[in-house]
């Protein structure tokens, strides 16, 4: 039950949104798909005084490609990422992650920008973006910044965003022709947040693996292209020293699962590479 008084704005352009954000005296809360924000408001855990909805800003919903990168607007809904040809061709793990988030209804409304900005440790895009070496594009009324995906999440549900800033875009390098990628996850039931989730990218002489769910932000390990799966798993295990535990599993269990899923992600990424990169 949302009971605290609420001022609501739904600007039609990014510029307007940034102005309203800058003008909000006591700060404003950004509303994207609302699939994380509104439940917390319903529970009374978040009580924003001002909400700025991005749902009317069409210019923030896009999937575009340049020569080496693909760019995804923050308001792109999970659903629109799943079957998109550019995503499928150049960063299929984003589609793989989008396809397992929550359920149909959540995917119809939730956005990639909201998910990343929410920075849930088990958020499914985070390891994908970390493994890919993606960049978050952040804007305020007066400036634009680019933040590496691995630096974007600073703690559990805390990001590098400053007051007045919006996440507007995620930019991912295209998977090289000889590369492969994969995303895999372990969850209690369908639609539940992951216990751990893992993404791997292989390209040329190295592989990058990022595992979410065990630590505040994804644990990243880079291994040589010919590293064994065991080595990769061990490297991730080492990188999850500050793992936390919760109802779905102890810290130790999560670390072990991080190890297992690192191996599985890498194995699948190598298979994908062997099969010509593409979709999984």
């Amino acid at each position: 039950m949302i009971s605290s008084e609420l001022a609501f704005y739904a600007p039609a352009t990014l510029a307007e949104a940034l102005e309203q954000l800058a003008a909000a005296e006591y700060g404003a809360t950004i509303l994207a798909g609302g699939m994380s924000l509104v439940p917390t408001m319903n529970l009374g855990l978040a009580r924003p005084e001002t909400v700025i909805s991005l749902n009317r800003i069409d210019e923030l919903a896009y999937i575009e490609e340049d020569a080496d990168t693909i760019r995804i607007g923050a308001m792109t809904r999970h659903r629109d990422l799943i079957g998109h040809p550019i995503v499928q061709a150049h960063c299929p793990s984003v589609a793989a992650a989008a396809s397992v988030i929550g359920d149909v209804q959540i995917r119809n409304r939730g956005t990639i920008g909201g998910s990343v900005a929410h920075a849930d440790p088990a958020g499914d895009y985070l390891p994908v973006l970390a493994a890919a070496g993606a960049t978050a594009v952040v804007r305020s009324a007066t400036s634009e910044r680019r933040i590496g995906a691995r630096e974007f999440v600073v703690d559990i549900m805390r990001t590098a965003l400053e007051p007045g800033e919006l996440l507007t875009e995620l930019e991912l390098p295209k998977l090289p022709a000889d590369g492969g990628s994969a995303f895999v996850r372990l969850a209690r039931v369908e639609g539940a947040f992951a216990i751990v989730n893992a993404a791997a990218v292989t390209s040329g002489g190295s592989a990058t693996i990022a595992v979410g769910g065990a630590t505040a932000s994804p644990a990243v390990a880079e291994v040589a292209g010919d590293a064994s799966l065991e080595e990769a798993g061990d490297a991730v295990y080492e990188a999850t020293e500050d793992a936390f535990g919760d109802l779905s599993g102890s810290a130790e269990y999560r670390r072990e699962m991080a190890r297992v899923y690192a191996r599985r992600a890498l194995a699948e990424a190598r298979d994908a590479a062997a099969n010509g990169g593409g979709a999984q």
């Binding site: 609501f8 509303l31 359920d103 959540i106």
Partner: protein, 167 residues
């Protein structure tokens, strides 16, 4: 804060002034009196509040009413006008006992409608994934899955065949 909005609800345009704290499900149930959409959690988990927003299923407990200005909302009430005019999906649920208490059922019907729109010939696994955002505590899902399979079959049979053969 009060806010004027205008929506198309089950095909009818309505302009009203709402409290910004109102969620879409509360708008539908309490302001518009369409109580076929239910509330089981308000955290986006159960799917009892599923409605179509511009044709797509969403969990209306997690959408602010203020945020749907200018949009089209379709609820379970749009699917029939009386006992003899049940939508084929509803008829399939009724015939296959795809419900017990009926609390999850409107949401299930809307998710089925959306699923069949995307995939007219779903496998059992497709169906189970397609309705995984709708929790049911009564049925163990089996007769719901059978209802969806039956609804798909009925829809395929009543669709005009490719050769265009008339009745």
């Amino acid at each position: 804060m009060k806010l004027p909005i205008s929506i198309a609800i089950n095909g009818q345009t309505r302009s009203l002034e709402i409290d910004t704290r109102l969620t879409l499900v509360a708008l539908v149930r309490e302001e518009l009196g369409l109580t076929g959409t239910h509330v089981g959690c308000t955290t986006g988990n159960c799917g009892a509040c599923t409605v179509l927003l511009d044709g797509d299923t969403v969990k209306s407990c997690c959408v602010l009413a203020a945020d749907v200005d200018g949009q089209e909302i379709t609820t379970i009430e749009a699917f029939s006008t009386g006992a003899s005019t049940l939508h084929p999906i509803q008829q399939a649920f009724a015939d296959n006992q795809g419900l017990q208490c009926g609390f999850c059922t409107p949401g299930m019907v809307l998710s089925t409608h959306y699923l069949l729109g995307q995939n007219p010939s779903p496998t059992e696994a497709d169906i189970r994934h397609g309705i995984s955002g709708n929790l049911c505590r009564c049925t163990g899902y089996q007769m719901i899955v059978d209802s969806v399979l039956d609804a798909a079959q009925r829809a395929r049979e009543s669709a005009p065949s490719a050769s265009g053969a008339a009745e």
